[in-house]
């Protein structure tokens, strides 16, 4: 078997809580005061509860040319692992051997200075990332055309739009040519078109035989870029192996966790004491009849609502859907839309919603009921649901609400024949 390009053996990193990334810096005077105190104390070397293991017992090998995704929730230790491998910080125990030149891309635009021009920053940033002046010069034109900012090269980057800034910064990084590339979630910035381009460039880099370690929350990107995946949780490896398999297990696990949020809501008596007709309970199901509040793009959502009270005549239930930004996304109404009015004896109604052509994010539902022209009950913020994945198109591009709109509409792109430039 081929010798691995990276071997990691029982790697661990312990942090002191309160240090790093807080206002709690150590002050020299405190240290002096404490050391005076400590002279009179017995030195105990017990495990300090203030210390936590950000990584513990990490062991794996990576073959040359392998593309490895690293996934896991926040605080799982993904970034710490990359920081250790890129020598930014030292492990507390264990060791790693790396046979090749490493470039790490934990952030785009490291070392960019707002007062310097685009051109100056390209050279600066390149040097920080470990490129020589000659290398940068050779790649300069390529970098500039990749970033699409030719006209602004002599403008200080403080005048750039955030999109231009990111494009230039990523362009430099994308032209690094190390044997091993460590990439943190840097694609979560910039506009969609450019993100796509960066993913393409990364794919190209990966195909070029380079070894890539890629941290991301974007499962679509992980699936399309990586062959194998390491899943971390609380600083330990949960599973490693084939990308599709590990990602699927990871997602299932995420769904189970989410599902602890309630899919049945009972209304409090307090809320309905003056109402003659009202919703008393709601339950959310998926198409297979399982209780859940988790859905994917194009799934169907089913609400079972219970009603109480004495309506005089037929009634029409309605629902509104709001997204996480508070935007009114869609609504449904039995009477006006479908001509369906329920008789006053009905006490349980099934509402089927979908396919949900919604972008990934959180949503909440409002229920109301109309009798004639009177809205006799409104139950706001009844129940929430989450669209965990929205990758409707062939590239598996993930479409989240906060960035790319409230819903997905069908689309296609094609060129018009006979109109090409000569």
């Amino acid at each position: 078997m081929e010798k691995p390009i990276i071997t990691v053996n029982n790697l661990g990193k312990r942090y002191l809580l309160g240090l790093g990334g807080g206002e709690h810096y150590r002050a020299l005077r405190d240290v002096m005061a404490n050391s005076v105190k400590n002279i009179f104390k017995r030195n105990n070397k017990n495990e300090d509860p203030q210390r936590i293991w950000a990584l513990k017992g990490i062991t794996f090998d990576i073959r040359a040319g392998e593309k490895v995704g690293i996934i896991g929730g926040n605080g799982a230790g993904k970034s710490t692992l990359l920081k250790i491998l890129s020598e930014i910080t030292e492990p507390t125990e264990g060791e790693a051997h790396i046979y090749g030149r490493v470039a790490s891309l934990l952030e785009v635009g490291t070392g960019f200075h707002p007062e310097l021009t685009g051109k100056e920053n390209v050279f600066m940033n390149g040097a920080i990332l470990g490129m020589t002046r000659a290398e940068i010069k050779k790649k300069y034109d390529e970098i500039v055309s990749f970033a699409e900012i030719k006209r602004f090269l002599d403008t200080p980057v403080k005048r750039y739009s955030s999109g231009m800034y990111v494009r230039l910064a990523f362009a430099v990084a994308a032209h690094l040519e190390p044997e091993i590339l460590l990439v943190d979630e840097v694609l979560a910035v910039g506009d969609i078109a450019f993100q796509k381009k960066c993913l393409g460039k990364m794919g190209e880099v990966a195909k070029g035989g380079r070894t890539v370690l890629f941290v991301s929350h974007n499962m679509g990107a992980i699936r399309s870029l990586c062959e194998s995946v390491i899943w971390l949780d609380s600083g330990q490896i949960v599973k490693k192996g084939n990308a599709d398999e590990v990602v699927r297990d990871y997602e299932d696990n995420q769904l189970k966790r989410f599902d602890e949020s309630s899919y049945v809501v009972e209304r409090s008596q307090e809320e309905v004491k003056n109402k003659s007709f009202y919703f008393s309970r709601v339950k959310m199901l998926n198409k297979r009849g399982e209780n859940t509040t988790i859905f994917r793009y194009n799934d169907k959502l089913i609400l079972i609502v219970d009603l109480r009270g004495e309506p005089t005549i037929d009634f029409s239930p309605e629902f509104h859907i709001y997204n996480e930004l508070g935007q009114f996304v869609a609504c449904g109404a039995a009477g006006p839309y479908h001509g369906k009015y329920f008789s006053s004896k009905v006490r349980k109604v099934r509402i089927e919603i979908g396919p949900l052509t919604l972008t990934s994010g959180r949503y909440r539902i409002l229920l109301s009921v109309m009798i004639g022209n009177v809205r006799v009950d409104t139950w706001d913020n009844v129940i929430g649901f989450t669209i965990t994945e929205c990758q409707p198109f062939a590239t598996n591009w993930e479409i989240p609400t906060h960035r790319e709109g409230v819903c997905v509409i069908n689309q296609s792109f094609s060129k018009i024949e006979g109109e090409d430039s000569q």
Binding site: Y15, G20, K83, T89, P91, I128
Partner: protein, 275 residues
């Protein structure tokens, strides 16, 4: 597979030697970082350059009036303003570079926590970036010497040695303070005090000839004593320098520098965790 770059990542214990090969590989970064500081500083060109001309001139005038005219301190046979300016030249370089250097690690937190390169580059390039001000002051000194019709002596050939000593002294103190500052933020408040006190315990505003002989040894432990005496001697040819004192200062620079390097190397492993 490239066996040329084999890297072992693990916890290091004790003192770490300096990897000169690696520093050489990153040599361009020294200049890029220094250049960045210089470019940023002189981008607002008029203010930037005016400031580096006015500050030494103003200090010289104040010192000449107070110590030369009012206190009537001896001037070793040269005009008092010249005596002062030959000292201000290395002193201000030292003071600025050392302050910049001591802030440099904390000031580069965003880079340090995101990318690896030899950390020694940061305080060093902060010192290098002070050379522009030094050159500007040097031009002013030449102008003043023309004005006072003073011809430098042959000793001037030794000047580069003392420039190097100044540079080393600034870096030596900068290494200590930058590493200390990363760990203990209150070092920030100590630096201005050091600069102020240093100005008086170094022969900036006066000639070191007024120091009583019995205190000379202690006095010369201050690295800047040897530097300033050396500058005055090589530029003005003032009374034969006290070689013993200069040697003591130079030795003191070396000790601080070596200690600073070792301390810095020891501390740099945790920079990314504490800043």
């Amino acid at each position: 597979m490239n066996t040329e770059y084999v890297k072992v990542i693990k916890k290091h214990h004790g003192l770490i030697s300096i990897d000169f090969n690696e520093l050489w590989r990153y040599r361009e970064l020294f200049w890029f970082l220094a250049l960045r500081d210089i470019l940023v500083r002189y981008k607002q060109a008029v203010i930037g350059i005016a400031w580096s001309i006015l500050q030494p001139l103003f200090t010289m005038v104040v010192f000449s009036v107070i110590f030369g005219r009012l206190a009537k301190l001896p001037s070793d046979g040269v005009p008092y303003p010249i005596l002062i300016f030959t000292a201000l030249l290395p002193w201000q370089f030292f003071a600025h570079s050392m302050s910049a250097s001591s802030q440099s690690i904390v000031g580069s937190a965003s880079i340090i926590s995101k990318v690896y390169f030899p950390r020694l580059i940061i305080p060093t390039s902060a010192v290098i970036s002070g050379t522009i001000d030094f050159c500007i002051s040097f031009v002013i000194l030449i102008g003043m010497m023309v004005w006072y019709k003073i011809v430098p002596t042959a000793n001037i050939v030794y000047l580069p040695l003392f420039v190097l000593l100044t540079f080393t002294a600034a870096l030596a103190v900068g290494l200590w303070l930058s590493a200390l500052n990363a760990e203990f933020r209150d070092v920030f408040y100590v630096v201005p005090f050091l600069v102020q006190a240093g100005q008086y315990i170094s022969p900036v505003a006066y000639s070191s000839s007024i120091i009583p002989e019995k205190w000379k040894f202690l006095y010369s432990l201050n690295p800047m004593v040897g530097v300033i005496d050396g500058f005055r001697w090589s530029i003005l040819g003032t009374a034969t320098p006290h070689w013993i004192d200069i040697t003591i200062s130079a030795a003191s620079v070396l000790v601080i520098f070596t200690g600073g390097l070792l301390y810095f190397r020891k501390m740099e492993r945790t920079f990314a965790d504490v800043i």
